[in-house]
Amino acid sequence: MSPAPDQGSGGLTIRLALAANPGSVRAGLAQLLDVPALADLSEDHRATVELVLAEVLNNIAEHAYAAGAGATSVTLRLISTGLSCQFSDCGLPMPGGRLPDGKLSVTPVTPTADLPEGGFGWHLIRSLTQDLHYTRADGQNRLAFLIPG
């Protein structure tokens, strides 16, 4: 499905629904970042948006829909403080009903064999966003945050 921009109240809103798998995420990101409002962001802000959206969408594909296929809805809104992002999916809830801490335990002396190969995603999301908010309601995961810029 193509991204659908509309001029609602409070700024430009972009909506996209996409299948939750890595190939669709890659294609969906390319479509979203081509929408003029996002294509016109500063190079730095746009790179942050691409990375954060990729992390969230791939997490949903990998974890929420671990048991099978599903779709993710994305709503993006450009506001004065940055890009407001909302996601919803009908997959499994977050373990414990809360977002992962995304804490890294790596130091320069961590032995190679003990280096983590995962767990970077939530650390990046938490590092690059503000006002993170997660709720589970009506069988849906709903995640919202701001990418300042």
């Binding site: 790179a47 790596v106 280096l115 970077f120 990046l124």
Partner: protein
């Protein structure tokens, strides 16, 4: 996943010829590099100058390759673009890897040989 290899006496040079290492390509990337580095004992220099996008899956794959090489074989990186460099910095992986500004600098550096 396009990789370009050059075997030098003390270095295996690997140029990543893709603009993304992401969740859609990370597993393939890791498996290709595992296969390509099964023989030999040279240090491996992975050039990321063409990579414009690296997500946590891609980063995890690069860490996995470092682990696969074991403690006696070094994996070094070169040519990180600004967006890729930021992912390494935010996750502190810039403190784990030796990162060279350019591939040429990496190949001429003998300290890791």
């Amino acid at each position: 996943m396009q990789l370009q290899l050059q075997t030098l006496p003390k270095v295996l040079s690997v140029l990543v010829m893709e603009d993304r290492i992401d969740a859609a390509s990370a597993i393939q990337f890791k498996e290709r590099l595992r296969d390509l580095t099964q023989e030999g004992d040279q240090r491996v220099v992975l050039d990321l100058a063409r990579v414009q996008f690296l997500d946590s899956s891609g980063l995890g794959a690069i860490v996995a390759v470092k682990k696969l090489l074991g403690p006696d074989r070094v994996l070094e990186l070169s040519g990180l673009t600004p967006t890729v460099e930021r992912v390494f910095r935010l996750t502190r992986m810039d403190t784990i890897f030796t990162i060279h500004l350019t591939h040429e600098a990496a190949l001429s550096d003998v300290t890791g040989a």
